[in-house]
């Protein structure tokens, strides 16, 4: 079995390393990784590509056994052709008074819940992550979107920058690798 140690690596290196290893490896891959974002991101990445992930807790870390070659390793399920990705790079909508911008963004996200057609994935970056962290007024709406199959992901670096890493209240954490890949592989990108 091939093995890989990504402990101590900063985002998005764990996912990048695992991706490379899976592309070149035959059979199972064993990965040693840290808890938190690397553990979540690598699992999401591998499962999104159709692999099975078995987890084993180790002292201060985790070991994943990744097996079962993906049917279409080049395209993740959530990044299939036709995916609509929404990139929210701000906690305000439009230019103008701050208060109005915040109100419009909140109104926009709550309105999405009522629509029949939804994006496959919403990526929150920069001050956009303030919308997914505790204290945001759209958590209930984001949870409702999640329950309807929309993948809600926040940029880990951004959460860290705003000291909101511990208070993420809706969806998961992602990295620039996934963000860049999602944008490039999406059929349409809606940017706010």
């Amino acid at each position: 079995m091939n093995s890989l140690d990504v402990r101590g690596m900063a985002c998005p290196l764990p996912v990048v390393s695992v991706k490379r290893a899976l592309e070149s490896a035959e059979g199972e891959l064993r990965v040693l990784l840290d808890d938190g974002a690397p553990r979540e991101n690598v699992r999401r990445f591998a499962e999104g590509r159709g692999y099975r992930v078995q987890e084993e807790p180790l002292e201060g870390a985790f070991a994943f056994t990744i097996s079962g070659a993906a049917k279409k390793p080049e395209v993740a399920a959530s990044e299939r052709a036709g995916a609509t990705v929404m990139l929210i790079g701000t906690d305000r909508m439009g230019d103008g008074p701050e208060e109005l911008g915040r109100l419009l963004m909140k109104n926009f996200i709550i309105t999405l819940v009522e629509l029949p057609e939804l994006p496959d994935r919403i990526l929150f970056i920069n001050t956009g992550v303030l919308l997914t962290a505790a204290g945001s007024e759209v958590i209930e709406a984001l949870e409702a979107l999640g329950n309807r199959g929309v993948e809600v992901l926040s940029c880990g670096i951004c959460l860290d920058f705003f000291k909101k890493k511990e208070s993420l209240a809706a969806g998961g954490v992602t990295n620039m690798f996934t963000i860049a890949e999602s944008l490039l592989q999406a059929r349409s990108v809606v940017r706010l």
Partner: protein, 87 residues
């Protein structure tokens, strides 16, 4: 976003609804500014949602500040019942 039994207050201008939101939040009342449900006509497209438990506090605060809504509705099943003459 609006559950059975919730109240939805419709205001006649964006400034009034924003002022009302600010006032109620300052009083730590559990309310949410929401897009007005399609079924309810609202000039500015915004409404304030709150549950029955905080109704008297919310409406008391709004009345005191001269910010009573134009219309008030209560969600009942799939429909919105208009609350008449109680404000």
């Amino acid at each position: 976003m609006v559950k059975d039994g919730d109240y939805v207050a419709i205001f006649n201008s964006v400034h009034r609804v924003m002022e009302a939101e600010r006032l109620l939040k300052d009083k730590h009342l559990k309310i949410l500014l929401i897009p007005a449900p399609r079924a309810l006509a609202a000039d500015c497209g915004l409404a304030i949602r709150y549950a029955g438990e905080v109704r008297s506090e919310v409406e008391g605060a709004l009345a005191e500040a001269g910010l009573l809504p134009r219309d008030l509705y209560r969600k009942s099943g799939e429909a919105f019942e208009k609350i008449e003459g109680e404000l």
